[in-house]
């Protein structure tokens, strides 16, 4: 089974996300080919209403994934677009399976390929990204199970989560169009929902959520991507 990791533009251009994902995959001994480094999934085209151009992009991406059986991506936007939107815009199915990184990590943990040594002794809240959640396949359990399997980690629930989770403010290209508004949405979520839980770390599994929550945190809470937390638990 050939695994391809589709990193996506935002992970690729955020070293803390990019490097740690590669490191975690190496530690787990995953053999994979790299994709989505110089080829975007097409999200910006779809978000800018350019459906025809997105179709062309979809075909380019599919071609770049030829021979891959399972595409793993850390980006919920890449995930939903490749997994669902490609079929919607091209009318054709993919030749590969698509997994979000949280689903893949769950598998690696179950198979014993990821083993925790040091663990992560902190109280953590998990923010559900819209595009693996409500707006997509409702991947709510895997990220939580991954986090709970890390020794010492205490997962604290948010008042509004899963299907009912509120957006970080970074979606829909708002972060590109009105960055300060996006950050303010994140800040509001952190103040009203996250800080009252008393958690020490806010995590998520989306590069946009990570960047945006970071912008909105204003140092009031540590923001860590889920992959980084897993890596820290392994080390």
């Amino acid at each position: 089974m050939k695994i391809g990791i589709f990193f996506g533009c935002t992970t690729r251009s955020t070293p803390v996300l990019f490097d740690r994902l590669k490191e975690l995959m190496d530690r787990a001994g995953v053999e994979y080919s790299s994709h989505g480094l110089d080829l975007c999934c097409g999200a910006p085209l779809l978000l800018a209403g350019k459906i025809e151009e997105a179709k062309v992009q979809a075909e380019k991406v599919r071609k770049s994934l030829e021979g891959v059986d399972v595409v793993v991506t850390p980006c919920p936007h890449c995930y939903t677009i490749i997994k669902h939107e490609y079929r919607e815009i091209t009318g054709k199915d993919n030749d590969f399976e698509v997994l979000h990184i949280t689903q893949f990590l769950k598998k690696l943990i179950d198979e014993g390929k990821i083993k925790f040594k040091s663990g992560f002794r902190k109280r953590v809240v998990y923010h559900d990204p819209c595009y693996i959640g409500r707006e997509s396949d409702g991947i709510y359990d895997e990220p939580r199970e991954v986090l709970k399997s890390i020794p010492g980690l205490e997962l604290v629930p948010l008042p509004l989560e899963k299907e009912d989770a509120t957006c970080c403010g970074g979606g829909g290209f708002v972060r590109a169009y009105l960055p300060r508004l996006s950050a303010e949405v994140a800040k509001e979520k952190i103040e009203l929902q996250v800080l009252p839980t008393g958690a020490e770390v806010l995590t998520s599994a989306c590069p946009f959520c990570y960047l945006n929550l970071n912008d909105g945190s204003e140092g009031k809470i540590e923001v860590e991507d889920l992959v980084s937390i897993v890596l820290k638990g392994v080390e």
Partner: protein
Amino acid sequence: MANIHTQYKKTIYRVLKDPFTRTALRRAVESFRKNRDRALEAFPYVKEEAKKLIETKNQVIDNFDYYIEKTMKVVESMHAIPYYAEDADEALDIMKKIVGTGKTIVKAKSITSEELFMNEKLEEWGNEVFETDLGEFIVQLLKSRPMHILAPAVNIPREKVAEIFSQFSGEELPPDPPRLARFAREFLREKFFNADIGISGGNAITADTGTIFLIENEGNIRLATSAPPVHIAVIGIEKILPSLKDGMRLLEVVSRYAGYLAMSYVSLISGPSKTGDIEKVVVYGAHGPKELHVILLNNGRKEAAKDPVVKQALRCLRCGACMYECPVYPLTTGYWGYKYMGGIGIPWTAYITGGFEKAAPMAFTCTMCGRCVKYCPMEIDTPKITERVREILNEKGLIPPYIEELARNVIEKGVPY
């Protein structure tokens, strides 16, 4: 075009810094959620009723011409005067003929009237206009515009209200909500009874009985539509419902989803006031209006109904739930909007009032998180509609420059950045 976006950005960023708006909206969201959950818990069957109403609304949206004709006929048979207005100009021409000049007019809150710039026009023709909903009255005195569809003055603190009421009355009024409400009551009371004309919208109008539904809590709509000798109702064609029964269903759905166990007042108006008490001679204008004019307004609704994705936006009941459940709206309030606001305001601005140019900045203020869909009794998929509107914005060359640049980068270099 770049200018529109710069200006918009400035406005939004200014609102973000307004501490009052933030506090007021936090409170509003919290109490809205509590009330809505309580109302839906007390009346659990309303969720099923909402599903039936979706079917009914779709039936009307797919058969506008049939239902318009049917409603016009029945309205006429009830001795009211029906009109059909193709667009805002036609509606205003009709209004001008009915209203004329030199009149005193009391108004019920209506976004449809905002859509027509009705107050400005009525004043331009030499009439005096009073908004009678308290929030709307405040907004009118401020010369501002409503910032929420249900709570137009949601972003205005009591001190500000006291200041403008004091200025207006020449009397020093304290920042005390009951005292301020009493001032509005006393001031407007005389207006209701001396007004020549009352103008309202309508939550619904039924095609079998010609009944206009007006749902409210203050009682101002009741007075504005019954005290003056003439009542004009301007109603969007998407508000037509096939039957009176459907109207009762809508009443329950819209009230519960807006967070009310019951609304204080529901007026059902099917024709002008009449009596036959003297020798069975029918006399119009007994205690209520002698004349009832019903203007059914298209103004882009039929065009919106042609698009298979956009048309669901016409099901909107204006319960306001989506705005309170949105991650963005409580921070921007109605500044994310033109006449219609928030995510649902995107198609309404594009098709009904403002056009695609005004809708462009709005379309890029929606994070497409889909939380509104979960809470919409009409299951309106605003992210899907926003996607569709963005497609049309692209065709029209109205994508904001920086977004366009990122998309161009993908086409030319493979990646946006």
